[in-house]
C-alpha cells in the first residue's frame, strides 16, 4: 500500500513514521501540509511533533492547512488515517475524533516506555494485534490528557471505540486511562503513544509498535 505521511512545519516524527511504514511493508509517500494533494495514497499518517509551534492550541492551525482539507474528505470516505500524538490532537481539532487533548495534569513533559492494552483490534491500524494484547510503546507528550464529556466517554466505551488504554500508570491524566480512540466507522485512529518509535530493536524499547503498520496489510487482505 501507499501510505502518506504528512509533514507540517514543526513536525518531528515524520521521518520515523515513514521508516515505520516501510518496515511495515508499505511504500511511504511524503505529503506536504501546503499541498491540496494526497498523491494517490491509500492511507495517511499524521505524525508527532509541534506543528505550527503548537500556537493557539496544539493542532488548531494545522487542522486548517490545505492538506488537511484533503485528509478530512478522504477520512470521511473511509480512508485509514492514523494520528500519533500531535496527529491525534489534529484529528480532535478537525472533529474527526471526539474530545480534546489538554496539558498533562502533573504539568510536566512525560517521556517513558508505556505499557498499553490494545482493546479494539477491528481497526485497519490494530488488526494484527491479539484482542487485549498488552504492549510497551514509547510515550512522550506535554499535552496528552484526553478529555471529553461523560456522555462522549460512555459512548466511546459502549461502542468499543477505545483503541488503547494505559496500564500501570496514567501518564498524563487522560480520562479513563484512554490512550487512543477511533471514530464510528473505525478507519480513523488517534493515539498518544508513538508506535513509530517502537519498531526496531536497534533503537530501543522493543518492536511492539510495528503492529500499527503491519495491520494495514492484514486489513486489506482480509
Amino acid at each position: 500500500m501507499k501510505v502518506g505521511v504528512v509533514t507540517f512545519p514543526g513536525s518531528l516524527d515524520d521521518v520515523d513514521a515513514q521508516r515505520a511504514v516501510r518496515l511495515g511493508g508499505h511504500e511511504a509517500v511524503a505529503l506536504w501540509h501546503g499541498d491540496h494533494d494526497l498523491r494517490g495514497v491509500d492511507a495517511v499518517v499524521l505524525p508527532g511533533g509541534f506543528s505550527y509551534g503548537d500556537y493557539l492550541r496544539c493542532g488548531a492551525i494545522s487542522r486548517f492547512s490545505p492538506v488537511m482539507a484533503e485528509v478530512i474528505e478522504a477520512a470521511q470516505r473511509g480512508m485509514p488515517v492514523l494520528g500519533i500524538c500531535n496527529g491525534f490532537q489534529i484529528l480532535c481539532e478537525s472533529h474527526l475524533l471526539p474530545g480534546a487533548l489538554i496539558r498533562n495534569d502533573h504539568r510536566k513533559f512525560v517521556c517513558r516506555d508505556q505499557r498499553l492494552r490494545i482493546e479494539n483490534v477491528a481497526t485497519p491500524w490494530t488488526s494484527s494485534y491479539e484482542p487485549g494484547a498488552e504492549v510497551t510503546i514509547v510515550l512522550k507528550n506535554g499535552e496528552g490528557g484526553f478529555v471529553a464529556d461523560a456522555d462522549t466517554l460512555d459512548r466511546l466505551e459502549g461502542e468499543g471505540r477505545v483503541v488503547a488504554r494505559y496500564l500501570d500508570v496514567n501518564p498524563n491524566g487522560s480520562a479513563r486511562d484512554i490512550a487512543g480512540i477511533t471514530n464510528e466507522r473505525g478507519n480513523v485512529v488517534g493515539l498518544m503513544p508513538h508506535p513509530e518509535h517502537s519498531v526496531e530493536d536497534l533503537t530501543g524499547s522493543g518492536t511492539d509498535g510495528l503492529g500499527f503498520f503491519t495491520s494495514l496489510a492484514a486489513a486489506v487482505l482480509s
Binding site: F64, A100, I102, H106, R107, A148
Partner: protein
C-alpha cells in the same frame, strides 16, 4: 477604530494545569488569599469602519471555529472603543 475582544476560558469542568501552576506560585512570592486561578486567552481584533451586527456575528464564528475549541473552552465577545482604552491608560 473599533476593537472587538474575544476572551477564551477553559470550561469550568476542564482541568487547568497552567492556572494551578500560577496558583501554586503566588504564595511562594508572598501573595496570599487567592483561592483559585484559571488561565485563559484574550484576542484583540481591530477593524476598519463600523461594527455591524454582521461583523459581530462573523467574530462569533471566528471564535467558534478557530479562536476557541468548544469542546474544552468557552468564549465571550465584547466591543471596546480605542478612545476609551486610551482614556483608561
Amino acid at each position: 477604530m473599533p476593537r472587538v475582544v474575544v476572551d477564551v476560558m477553559p470550561k469550568p469542568e476542564i482541568l487547568d494545569p497552567q492556572g494551578k501552576a500560577v496558583l501554586g506560585a503566588l504564595p511562594r512570592l508572598g501573595f496570599s488569599g487567592v483561592t483559585d486561578v484559571r488561565q485563559g486567552k484574550r484576542f484583540e481584533l481591530e477593524f476598519d469602519g463600523e461594527l455591524t451586527d454582521e461583523v459581530l456575528a462573523e467574530v462569533r464564528q471566528m471564535a467558534e471555529t478557530l479562536l476557541s475549541n468548544p469542546v474544552i473552552e468557552d468564549f465571550t465577545v465584547s466591543v471596546e472603543t480605542v478612545a476609551a482604552v486610551e482614556a483608561v491608560e
